[in-house]
């Protein structure tokens, strides 16, 4: 479903701030894979997702989604294949537009935007139904401006928008990191629900090792723009946080120093 072939990205090349964020990075995802991604700050997790989403062009390598080479496609054209939820709840929605208008924008992802009405009556009924699975009461606030919603509500809505048109690949970049633990758990639960229901191929970055172990069928750990751990199948099912820390130390030769990840 997704193939990254020897992708490299260096920021600020040739300056003192030069940062090799992805180094000869390769990753292949099968149809229906739910891969959790962990790694310390600055490991290159977000960079990997931005490379897939086309936020900027990569320096070298190839990105293939569902058989199509998207390496040179601009961000808005790759959106056809992708559903994205970001770490910052502000990023995924348009604050000055209504809940239903945001959903309507997402519904038209990958379609040509014409002079037809931006939202139809049938859609409203559809959105009302869809919003119910979030269990947040948003189905009664269709016309409320998204700017009035809480961070958790916005993330849940963004998740719904990302999956409204079944994406080839769902990209979740620490989408629960900015939420309080209770809301985060709720949003994760909904994520699991939707991913299973639609059998979505998913990449989920998280800082929480427990979540990384609990969810998905495969786990990768990044460091300095490389994959240093790749665990799947039975081995992943049996994995514990301690195992993961040992494996990390063995693979990287350093101690894991992200308190947040251990405690979380």
């Amino acid at each position: 479903m997704l193939e990254l072939k020897n992708v490299s990205k260096t920021f600020n090349a040739g300056t003192v701030n030069e940062k090799k964020a992805l180094v000869d990075f390769s990753l292949t995802l099968n149809d229906g894979d739910f891969v959790t991604v962990i790694g310390g700050n600055g490991a290159g997790k977000s960079t990997m997702m931005n490379a897939i989403a086309g936020v900027w062009q990569v320096d070298s390598g190839q990105i293939i989604i569902d058989g199509a080479d998207v390496t040179r496609l601009p961000e808005h054209k790759r959106a056809v294949f992708l559903g994205r939820v970001f770490q910052d709840p502000m990023t995924g929605t348009a604050a000055t537009m209504g809940i239903e208008e945001n959903l309507a924008l997402a519904k038209r992802r990958g379609k040509k935007r014409t002079l037809r009405s931006g939202i139809t009556k049938e859609e409203r009924a559809e959105y009302r139904e869809l919003l119910k699975i979030l269990g947040l009461g948003l189905e009664n606030r269709l016309t409320s401006k998204v700017g009035l919603l809480s961070g958790g509500q916005r993330q849940a809505l963004t998740l719904l928008m990302a999956t409204l048109k079944k994406p080839k690949l769902l990209l979740l970049d620490e989408h629960t990191a900015a939420l309080d633990p209770k809301t985060a758990a709720k949003v994760l639960e909904t994520t699991q629900l939707i991913v299973e229901r639609d059998k979505l191929t998913t990449l989920m970055i998280t800082h929480n090792m427990k979540d990384a172990i609990t969810y998905g069928n495969r786990l990768i750990m990044l460091m300095d723009g490389h994959i240093i751990l790749d665990i799947s199948g039975e081995e992943k099912k049996k994995l514990t946080v301690e195992d993961l820390l040992h494996k990390f130390e063995a693979a990287s030769g350093t101690e894991f120093t992200n308190d947040k990840a251990i405690l979380g």
Binding site: A53, H76, T93, A94, A95, T96, M97, A104, R108, R113
Partner: protein, 309 residues
């Protein structure tokens, strides 16, 4: 300071305010909807005026002339849009470059620094002379009011379409728009074209109204437009929530601006100071939301901002 002088001047102020209101609505689209401060307008207003007058002088029908003036305005927006998106120049600078270039273009269109048109020889749609003592359907205030309402209706419809929604999303949150497959560069170019089309139309009407187009007519248009937007929001913002009403509030804001201007003139203040006054007033109004957030926000509203962030 005869009060009748002021009262006599008011219908003219309304007419002028309404005409400028169309430009202000265009500025609202870039400034508020697309979140771009577009300085092209100082040039495109003159372009609209020049094209309209020159076309009419060479024998074209007034409606055709207005249409071509609008299209010319759209072209200026296209240029700024290309400078900004395709060439990666910051929006403000793109607008300034286009504006500067338009100075020459407008001179070339007119052939000299101004072109007059005689209301007795040409069939104008609006004029200073059509304010009083004229059959009601030719009254400039009514004509411009109808045009404004028509434009507001079209814009209200447009911003409810799929394409219009993609423009609003682009202005509100570019990252989100791109993630939903919207070509934000295209949205910006289209928005700039629509905006400057309206400004061009406004310039065309203004040149007919005053009976001439000249190279200076667009000077400070952005400030007058922003003043109208800000006054409209300050006066009607609490009640006018619907998009169409917000646009109408801008038109009203423009009328209020010209009312105040008339009063200032009537008070005998040196008219050379008018631009300075306008600039100061707009600067203060632009600062108010910033000051409000910084010095006057209650703890409760501060918290609200934070949880949203």
């Amino acid at each position: 300071m005869n009060i009748f002088n002021l009262i006599n001047a008011l219908p003219g102020a309304v007419a002028q305010g309404l005409i400028w209101g169309i430009a202000a609505i265009g500025i609202y689209i870039t400034y508020r909807v697309l979140d771009i401060a577009d300085l092209t307008v100082d040039g495109s207003l003159g372009t609209g005026g020049a094209v309209c007058i020159v076309m009419m002088l060479s024998g074209h029908n007034v409606y055709v002339s207005l249409l071509v003036a609008t299209l010319a305005g759209m072209c200026t927006g296209l240029v700024t849009g290309i400078l900004h998106t395709f060439m990666g120049i910051p929006a403000i600078l793109s607008g300034i470059l286009t504006q500067l270039g338009l100075y020459s273009v407008n001179l070339k269109i007119m052939g000299k620094s101004n072109q007059a048109i005689n209301v007795d020889k040409f069939d104008l749609l609006v004029s200073l002379r059509y304010i009083r003592d004229v059959v009601f359907y030719k009254n400039t205030i009514l004509v411009v009011l109808v045009i404004t309402l028509l434009l507001v209706a079209i814009l209200y419809w447009f911003f409810g379409t799929e394409l219009g929604c993609s423009l609003r999303a682009t202005g509100c949150n570019g990252n989100m728009a791109r993630a939903q497959g919207i070509n934000t560069n295209f949205s910006k170019v289209l928005g700039l074209m629509i905006s400057n089309g309206l400004v061009g139309l406004s310039g065309a009407l203004l040149s007919q109204y005053q009976g001439f187009a000249d190279i200076q007519m667009g000077r400070g248009a952005i400030v007058i437009g922003l003043a109208a937007v800000i006054i409209g929001e300050a006066v009607f913002g609490k009640v006018f929530k619907n998009f169409a009403l917000k646009l109408i509030a801008v038109a009203f804001g423009s009328i209020i601006y010209y009312f105040v201007l008339q009063i200032v003139i009537w008070l005998g203040i040196d008219t050379n100071l008018l631009k300075l006054l306008s600039a100061i007033v707009v600067a203060i109004f632009l600062a108010i939301p910033y000051w409000k957030a910084k010095y006057f926000s209650k703890p409760a509203s501060k918290k609200e901002v934070k949880t949203n962030a």
